[in-house]
Symmetry: C2
Subunit: 215 residues, 2 copies
DNA sequence: TGTACATCAGTGAACGCGCGTTCACTGATGTAC
DNA sequence: TGTACATCAGTGAACGCGCGTTCACTGATGTAC
């Protein structure tokens, strides 16, 4: 379906309502998690009947897709902006953490347990790679002082399929991967509340991992 | 309610049915995730009516609690057994990975996005700490060659509340935390399928993190 | 060993709820002449 | 500027479904004398 001229009042109203639906959806997700997302509940909250939302989203899955897309977009922009205003690798890492803490369920929608029965569309992986590229660039800049495992860089050197479109020294890729997995490790355990039982300070752990990464 | 003598036939039948309910529950979780768990569906699968299950579990939450407890118990035993049969730290780490890959949703039930609306009971944290102790012991044994961040060990030295019951050198705690968060980082991203888009080999990453940890 | 009673597993009906989604329709808004 | 028509937002009823949970009841299994 080709959408018409977006400058007509009707079209502006459409995008406005779509935006409000998604706003309510985020509130719902923040409260009860993504699997509890309900079109009817959102409609009720907006003072409309349930079926009305089908003017704006084909079905529940399309709404989730749009939410995933928006979240990726927002994270990609956040990191891009930080990088463009001079943030180094630790700066980007902290921007990531801030973003995650601002709305834990939004972070978990992207990187947590997959929503059962929902399959992410291909085009979101493009944005996901945009995020990767921003981080890899920062990794490349931070390189000299960083160490890299030899077994891993062998794997990465052979790793043409994906890396071909994103030329970067294997050491930068190795740093990126360690950064990504380690920060996600701390972040996801923090968001799931697994440190509270043992009374650890997640921020200290996060900073410690960051310091270790940069040698 | 005090349960009676567990050796009477009736009592043995009870525990047997409870076990089968949980078996079916695991199948369901493995397929559709924990939030899709349904008492009625389990009953139907067992050829019984829905209300029958209320003879065995007070409600849905109690079933989930029992599943969480069983998962923690199983993981704790797996690691304990591995440690007792001479596994070192990398051995324990690989046992953890094997356990997670055997049933991803089971791992995610413990360490993934929390089930919305469900609050874990206190007594499961005891088993969770048992797991931590097993790993910390292995960390202590692996110590000499491992490095530790100074900012982190300061935090850990001040960290009496939890560590008092589990005396271990701060360096061992630091190693344990790095181990836990890093392995979880790789594992959870692997289980969520986030490496497939970039065609990375999760096992290589896992081993690389392990090698880095042990200096 | 046999009878009387208590215990307990499991059933079927019912309650109230919310879900996603389809469909025929009303009424307002925009468009073309 | 006014009229005729097309477009589209939103409604209400309905479908079919599954959920957790309660309740009165049947029938089988165990217990006590």
């Amino acid at each position: 379906m080709a959408t018409s001229d977006p400058n007509t009042p009707r079209e502006r109203y459409r995008t406005q309502v779509r935006a409000e639906v998604m706003e309510r959806a985020w509130e719902q997700i923040a409260t009860a998690g993504a699997s509890a997302l309900s079109l009817n509940a959102i409609a009720k909250q907006m003072g409309m009947s349930g079926p009305a939302l089908y003017r704006y989203f084909a079905n529940r899955d399309e709404l989730i897709t749009e939410l995933v897309r928006e979240a990726y977009r927002d994270l990609a922009d956040t990191l891009r902006t930080a990088a463009d205003t001079g943030a180094d690798l630790p700066g980007l890492a902290r921007a990531l953490r801030t973003w995650a803490l601002a709305d834990p369920q939004r972070y978990l929608l992207l990187y947590g347990t997959p929503v059962p029965g929902y399959q992410a569309p291909e085009d979101t992986t493009a944005i996901s790679q945009e995020i990767a590229v921003t981080l890899i660039d920062a990794c490349t800049a931070a390189l000299p002082s960083a160490a890299s495992s030899s077994a891993l860089s062998t794997h990465l050197a052979d790793h043409r399929t994906w890396a071909a479109d994103h030329p970067a020294p294997p050491e930068a890729l190795a740093l990126f991967l360690a950064l990504w997995t380690r920060l996600h490790g701390v972040l996801s355990l923090e968001l799931a509340g697994h440190f509270t039982g043992m009374k650890f300070d997640a921020e200290v752990l996060f900073e410690s991992e960051l310091a270790t990464l940069l040698g």
